[in-house]
Symmetry: C2
């Protein structure tokens, strides 16, 4: 299994995917065809063009799966897939509707398909979308996602702002609420950070670190380069009140 899970696709001051060009080249390992899943945004053609423009300098040809009569067949023929960010509820609902939850999941697990996700696309690699930051603008059939890793990721992780007067929950408070109801680790990856998974190995990369939240323990900090393979051997327990 080969996963490149990005916290975000665009970092402040940089173009789309510009901050991770080297990582994408390494991840593709010579593959020059990439299937793109644009469902998290409404403008599928425009979104696919953005990704194609960003990856053309790397010699990669991008095809939106929405242009295929059978998106599942397009996945079956591709060496790598990129699931782009946007709204994760809309994304998951469309992955369910098109049968891509199964088509992508089984091929990635078999090792035949490399999986790259950004933001909402990274949420999809988790067992559920329960740690997304997105607004639930539409209702998927269930919250179950691809489950390529056995823990949850919170992309775009932001530290609390001590100067804020806003009374809405901080990200850390939201994840703490998640841990009250679920016994599942949550890896909050800051913008610019990423997680690279190869079979039983998981390592942080990019330029920013991550904060790991687990029930009944203090949060732990990790920096790019750190090995977090231990997260791959856990068993998530959802709806397991503390």
């Amino acid at each position: 299994m080969d996963l490149l899970l990005l916290s975000n696709s665009r970092t402040h001051g940089h173009g789309y995917l510009e901050h991770v060009r080297d990582e994408i080249t390494e991840f593709l390992a010579g593959a020059t065809e990439l299937a793109f899943v644009p469902y998290a945004l409404r403008d599928h053609d425009g979104y696919t063009a953005t990704v194609a423009d960003a990856l053309r300098p790397l010699g990669v040809t991008v095809t939106g799966v929405h242009t295929a009569a059978d998106p599942g067949a397009a996945i079956d023929a591709a060496p790598a897939v990129f699931v782009g960010g946007g709204n994760s509820f809309r994304l998951l609902k469309t992955l369910q509707h098109t049968g891509l939850v199964e088509a992508i999941g089984s091929r990635v697990r078999s090792g035949a398909l490399r999986y790259m996700g950004a933001s909402a696309g990274t949420n999809m690699a988790c067992p559920t979308l329960r740690t997304t930051n997105d607004m639930p603008i539409t209702e998927p059939a269930s919250f179950a996602a691809l489950g390529l890793v056995p823990f949850q990721i919170n992309p775009h992780y932001v530290d609390p702002d001590p100067s804020s007067t806003h009374m809405g929950e901080t990200r850390e408070q939201r994840i703490t609420e998640f841990l009250e109801d679920n016994d599942v680790p949550v890896l909050g990856i800051r913008e610019g950070g990423l997680l690279r998974v190869r079979d039983r190995s998981a390592r942080l990369g990019g330029v920013k670190g991550a904060r790991l939240f687990t029930r009944d323990a203090e949060p732990r900090e990790f920096v790019p380069g750190d090995d977090v393979s231990f997260l791959l051997s856990g068993t998530p327990r959802f709806d397991a009140p503390a």
Copy 2:
């Protein structure tokens, strides 16, 4: 129908519900018993004690519906209910599980029960929880909520911060995504603001205003005191792509 819908229960620099004491007194119209729904937080007893302490100076006795053998019967006996804030997914799931969606909804619509909500409790007064800010930490049976008003509210509404370098969506961007998939007005009420509904009349109150988002129109600003009764006569259309 008599609704007091608060953007938030605690305003920066003030105690719990302290910023709306006068509004609560007016809303209760002499009623001294209040049923409290604490399901949005895990500590039901502690949450109920917080509310009871806050409302004791107003001469109001607060009883948590979680202490009743039959929460629906507790609702049937109460002149007013307060649904407190916290996580709106957890709240809605518990309202569904306990049958309170129907018990509260029918009594409020009949005019027999006054409804006060804060934050997640205000989300519940809408047709769905699709404009909550909360993390989907658990999965309700559906996103359908009480539907006491025919439009959506976004509580804790915050304006975009032009100095931010964070790439996560602004609140306005999230609501714009909602409007791509749904043709339903969204009233973003800033912290300190509230909406008072009496039968066919709706008026903003509190100390902060609201921003109204509708499909194919520029957002409109409203200030405390403004009449927004026109929102009560619309017909929401969910899952109606633009």
